[in-house]
């Protein structure tokens, strides 16, 4: 079978895997953002106790390999009676891991919102929550887009780790196919191209977002 014929024949299975990869990525990045923003706010504005808790979370999940986190969730938890499906374990692991990284990106962006913006908000009589909601967050979310784009693209590729706990993402599909036809080289060339195409589309989309939300004149 020639390479184009082979590529064409395995494409449906690989795309099925890519769908799972994208599902993992989207759920994990969303979970990461929903956790990451409060964690970042906690580290910047929180009380001592909240600061310690949030910092602890970030250091744990940033300071240990994603693979060990996934293994603990998937192979470790059953020993205490918690059974997770490969997909669920992968989503939780990557979501928490991404939350730690995103918290740091968000924290950096919050801290680069100028102090004078807050002073202006307080001078109008805003409470701290209002100043954060109406002044800090809208500026922070714009500032974070470039580093957040990086995180999304990283995460898309990191989901390949889910292969190690048998989540049916694209690498798993590739291994399955190549274990039957022994054409590992060609199969993984096709997988590489699929990843690349998806990443290029994503980064184009993120560029569009960045210019759509750009503040005029800045």
């Amino acid at each position: 079978m020639s390479f184009p014929e082979l590529a064409w024949s395995i494409l449906p299975k690989l795309l099925e895997g890519m769908v799972v990869t994208l599902e993992l990525t989207i759920i994990a990045i969303t979970m990461g953002a929903l956790l990451g923003i409060p964690i970042a706010l906690g580290r910047v504005y929180g009380s001592k106790l909240i600061y310690i808790f949030c910092t602890f979370f970030v250091e744990i999940f940033r300071g240990t390999p994603l693979l060990t986190q996934l293994f603990i969730l998937y192979f470790g938890l059953p020993s205490v009676g918690v059974m997770l499906s490969p997909f669920t374990a992968a989503v939780i692991g990557m979501g928490l891991n991404s939350a730690a990284y995103q918290a740091e990106y968000f924290r950096g962006a919050i801290q680069s919102v100028k102090e004078e913006q807050l002073i202006a908000a307080y001078s109008l009589g805003m409470k701290q929550v209002q100043a954060i909601r109406y002044v800090v967050l809208p500026q922070m979310l714009r500032l974070v887009i470039p580093s957040w784009s990086n995180e999304l693209i990283y995460l898309l590729k990191y989901t390949s780790m889910a292969y190690m706990i048998q989540a049916p993402e694209i690498i798993s599909q590739g291994r399955l196919i190549s274990s039957r036809n022994f054409r590992t080289f060609e199969v993984f060339i096709v997988i590489t191209v699929i990843y690349l195409v998806v990443v290029l589309i994503l980064s184009k989309f993120l560029d569009l977002m960045e210019s759509k939300f750009r503040i005029p004149g800045l």
Partner: protein, 252 residues
């Protein structure tokens, strides 16, 4: 005699060992403009931020009309919403256009309906001559225009008092006039204002009172007439002479 809008009594503030304010007392009556002068580092800006408690003072009391601002039980956010603040570097919200900058305090703090806030916003921006810039963002405006938006933002809250912290010192010389003209109109319309500024032309035109500060104390205080012609303290005379030469304001 008009009622007292702001009363400051024996205000002290230190940063570490540096005592910035060493017992400041003064009053501002309704509709009056007080101009505060003095060389940099004498605590003029600190005095303004102590008034709206952005910088909490160490000692001393402040009243806004009948409310004691320095009373811990006072709702600070409520007090701040009735004291306007205009900053040296404008501090406009960079992510909002001119109209939304003016509207934000109205909708968030005063809980005014968005429609009404828009009307007030347009009205105030018209007042400062920016009705054609409603939808421009701060970064698209000149310094003078930004400062006028920030005056409109302060005005929209219907404050009892507006504090101006060196409102023209970050502006190019040719943009100072447009801001000062707005401020002169405001003063004439009866707004109560405290202005830290060395624009002596402005002081001569509208100030009821000039306060000269040095090293954290008020050295001398008086009407422009008295300060320019009969001031007692040699430091005041020297300083006034210097800034009149630099910033103008001699009688034509």
């Amino acid at each position: 005699m008009p009622k007292t809008v702001l009363k400051v009594e024996n205000l002290h503030k230190s940063y570490g060992n540096l005592e910035v304010l060493k017992g400041i007392s003064f009053q501002v009556r309704q509709g009056e403009t007080t101009v505060i002068i003095g060389s940099s580092g004498t605590g003029k800006s600190t005095l303004l931020t102590c008034i709206n408690q952005i910088t909490p003072p160490d000692k001393g009391r402040i009243w806004l009309e009948d409310i004691e601002i320095t009373d811990p039980k006072t709702d600070l956010n409520m007090v701040r919403s009735s004291i306007g603040m205009v900053f040296q570097h404008f501090n406009l919200f960079t992510h909002l256009n001119a109209l939304d900058n003016v509207r934000l305090g109205l909708t968030v703090v005063k809980k005014i309906s968005p429609e009404r806030a828009t009307e007030i916003g347009i009205e105030k921006l018209k007042l400062v001559g920016l009705e054609d810039k409603l939808h421009s963002y701060p970064a698209e405006l000149s310094g003078g225009q930004q400062q006028r938006v920030s005056i409109a933002r302060a005005l929209a809250m219907s404050p009892k008092l507006i504090l101006f912290d060196e409102p023209t010192s970050a502006l190019d010389p040719e943009l100072i006039g447009e801001v000062l003209n707005v401020m002169i109109e405001l003063a004439k319309s009866g707004m109560t204002m405290i202005v830290v500024s060395h624009e002596m032309g402005f002081a001569r035109a509208v100030a009821n009172d000039i306060i000269f500060m040095e090293n954290g104390v008020i050295v001398e205080e008086g009407t422009p007439e008295a300060m320019f012609n009969y001031c007692k303290n040699p430091r005041t005379r020297e300083f006034l002479h210097k800034i009149t030469e630099l910033y103008g304001g001699k009688k034509e």
